[in-house]
Subunit: 455 residues, 2 copies
């Protein structure tokens, strides 16, 4: 008999005479003459209740069936007389697929700390919280593609191994096929020159935006930074759209539309899982998400933002002065206390931004923007790109970049250049926003951080 | 005025009084008193024809407008009296956004070799062929996600940096934050132990299949193999579904359904681009794709396949004997000559397959399967996984794997193990199948191969 997923059984429209359910036992309750099993198969948060009358065969099977075991049950799907569930299964057969030794199985039915669950990242998706998390991660990633596909954007797989250091966005991992400690010259290495893991696909995706129009890349990016914080991982996923024939205002429009779409999509399609986080992880989750959906984002020039931060009575750890990069405390003040909604800060001083951002007419600022959201701080960082060859090469000279190495990038400004803009959104930050979870280690299946490469 | 994409202008239902088109000039033809421009913006294969009457302003703009320049045209969308197009633009203004020096612009209107275009991979998406290729690549990747999302599969981002060598699937790249030639001990490296780029996400995705049910991963994978062939790249994308409570037959069903879905999706949604490849690249493309859509795939035990190969009069370079791994010549004979459609070969000798494949009752073969398609050979390789802890650990001992290192993988068989199966599909091979293109370098935006890391 074909297996029915538990999500489909729970959403059944009518009783089913013959049904086969397969899943993991969350709990077993024995009574005189019959037992209850609560089964979960990961297809949804809920469990389905199975009632089986004791026969010698079934008792033998139940003997081997503790929390964590996997079983196949055949029986009848009937309306449940019990509270809290519409349907239950009257089991006729129980087959044990895989036992779970109750002495050593680490996920007994009790609450476990996030820290403990990180040490068993291979089993934690079997818990309610992490099952919900990774269903939501999946849904969010698929929604990113759907958003762009529906808007006619092209998905570009930008390279992971790169020979350029892109924007100096951070410390890079080296990639090599030489043995550790080898003194062979780089010419003998796989690529014959230094190679690294990408920190951003932007420069590559710009080439495609300047050919195909609206594009995006969505892939893993890397930072070899030795920072052990709840916000940093060595490997994370980034979404980087790049839109052609577009300016900074278009860029901010796209970011706002995207965040609203993703939040709405999760509320519409993952209601049960979102509810778990709203109830157990972050009581302010729902109001935060509703504000994001409903309110137009504030758009604030950097210079005005600095004035607001200087005028407030609030004491900051980092002093505020025109020219500084905003710290998380400043960002959170603006969106959580001052405006109480997402805020775009734009037109930043050129001195704190990379070479490829478009110079404004004032000669002091560039057409950069950051989108700040409550609890997270910066969730999007982007800019209009410098499309003027002469301005771009002058900027590269200023910051000491080797023009020969970027010949291909400059070619795009040499031949049919066009105004374009784009941004990067940290996928994990977006997931932290919609779940209320604070530690990036708890939103990544198998997180990679300094000295931590288990699984 | 808001820009209209050329794909939308070409598909207009009615004339448009005020329209703004932005794109790259594919050609310009000057006549007495007026000029024609053919504009492409990458949104589709086609160009839109623009006619502008000469005024001093327009003549000045046209002066700076050669092939490859980017322009913004405003005007009126009207029915075209000319042949081959329904709509054209009567231009009122022409603004040059970016010139293209006609002396040096490498994409003058003539045919270029694939080899030459690889040296300007940053510009090649502006050609018809590579524009079509990368629109199709995007569409195919998005279709993969749609296929799985619609079936309730969960997308798992399995790690790119890994501490295990997975299946010994191939040579791995090392990842390090130590400087080249450094003799520091591995304890001082970022992760404190040897770390590599993944060759497969399978072992990780199995953990999720044994928690959430049907899952898949779709991400970049790497091989540090020094093979300069048209079929190998150091970095490529792989799709790896893993289905729980499933056996080898379910696995083959899924692969067949997926290939048929992807081929059908491309024919339905990229007709114009597919047509380009059918006309200019591979005359047999359409019949091949139609056979895949229409015919049930052959399913052939390995032992029978060997018998067929031994009996045929065809001479092979590699001699055929029970126990050998099939070579491309054998694979292509089976699907191109013998069955003339896709063929699954299954139940391979255990000696040529990795440790995690499920042992069959004969003790000699494992529940492995490869899907062979015309021109490409193997496009899918998969298996039912060994879910029995004792059989699995015995196999690991046989092949000399360190059980301690795989403690987490074995845990999944220790606690609530269940039958499951999965496969890997090379995304680039699938793209080569639906385009007829023979060289993997021509289906990857910026390919990485030995000694080649440009862009």
């Amino acid at each position: 008999m074909k297996r029915t997923k538990i999500i489909d059984a729970l959403n059944a429209q009518a009783p089913v005479e013959d049904i086969r359910i397969m899943g993991w036992v969350r709990s077993k309750r024995d009574n005189k003459g019959f037992s209850f099993l609560a089964l979960n198969d990961g297809s949804c948060l809920g469990t389905i209740q199975v009632i089986v009358d004791h026969t010698p065969e079934i008792e033998a099977a139940l003997e081997r069936t503790g929390t964590g075991a996997s079983v196949a049950v055949t029986g009848e799907l009937v309306e449940s007389p019990g509270k809290g569930q519409k349907w239950e299964v009257r089991g006729k057969t129980v087959e044990v697929l895989g036992e779970a030794d109750q002495e050593t199985f680490p996920l007994q039915k009790k609450r476990h700390s996030d820290e403990f669950l990180r040490t068993i990242a291979h089993l934690r998706p079997r818990t309610n919280k992490f099952g919900a998390m990774f269903r939501m991660r999946s849904r969010l990633a698929q929604a990113v593609h759907r958003f762009f596909a529906d808007k006619g954007f092209f998905y570009v797989h930008t390279p992971i191994i790169t020979g350029s250091d892109c924007e100096g966005a951070g410390e890079m991992f080296r990639v090599t096929s030489l043995e550790a400690g080898s003194r062979e010259p780089v010419e003998n290495d796989f690529f014959g020159k230094p190679s690294n893991l990408t920190v951003s696909g932007q420069l590559s995706v710009e080439m495609f935006a300047l050919s195909l129009g609206d594009c995006y890349t969505f892939g893993p990016t890397f930072r070899a930074e030795n920072s052990n914080t709840p916000r940093h991982a060595a490997e994370f996923w980034m979404i980087e759209p790049e839109i052609c024939f577009a300016d900074l205002a278009d860029d901010m429009d796209l970011g706002e539309e995207m965040i609203k779409y993703l939040v709405g999509h999760m509320l519409d399609n993952c209601a049960e899982d979102v509810e778990l986080f709203a109830q157990w992880v972050d009581k302010s989750l729902m109001p935060t998400l509703e504000t994001i959906l409903k309110e137009p984002f504030e758009r604030l020039p950097y210079t005005e933002a600095i004035n607001i931060l200087k005028k407030t009575k609030k004491q900051f750890e980092y002093p505020v002065e025109w020219g500084i990069d905003l710290q998380t405390e400043h960002e959170r003040f603006l969106c959580e206390e001052k405006f109480k909604k997402p805020v775009y800060v734009y037109d930043y001083p050129k001195t704190i931004k990379p070479f490829y951002m478009r110079m404004n007419d004032d000669g002091k600022t560039v057409a950069a923007m950051d989108c700040l959201v409550p609890r997270i701080g910066e969730i999007i960082g982007g800019s209009q790109r410098e499309e003027r060859l002469d301005v771009l090469t002058a900027r590269m000279g200023e910051v000491g970049l080797n023009k020969e190495e970027y010949w291909w990038y400059l070619d795009s400004r040499r031949y049919g250049s066009a105004p374009h803009a784009g941004f990067g959104m940290g996928f994990e930050r977006m997931l932290m926003l919609v779940t209320g979870v604070h530690n990036i280690r708890d939103v990544i299946p198998f997180p990679r951080t300094p000295k931590s490469l288990e699984f």
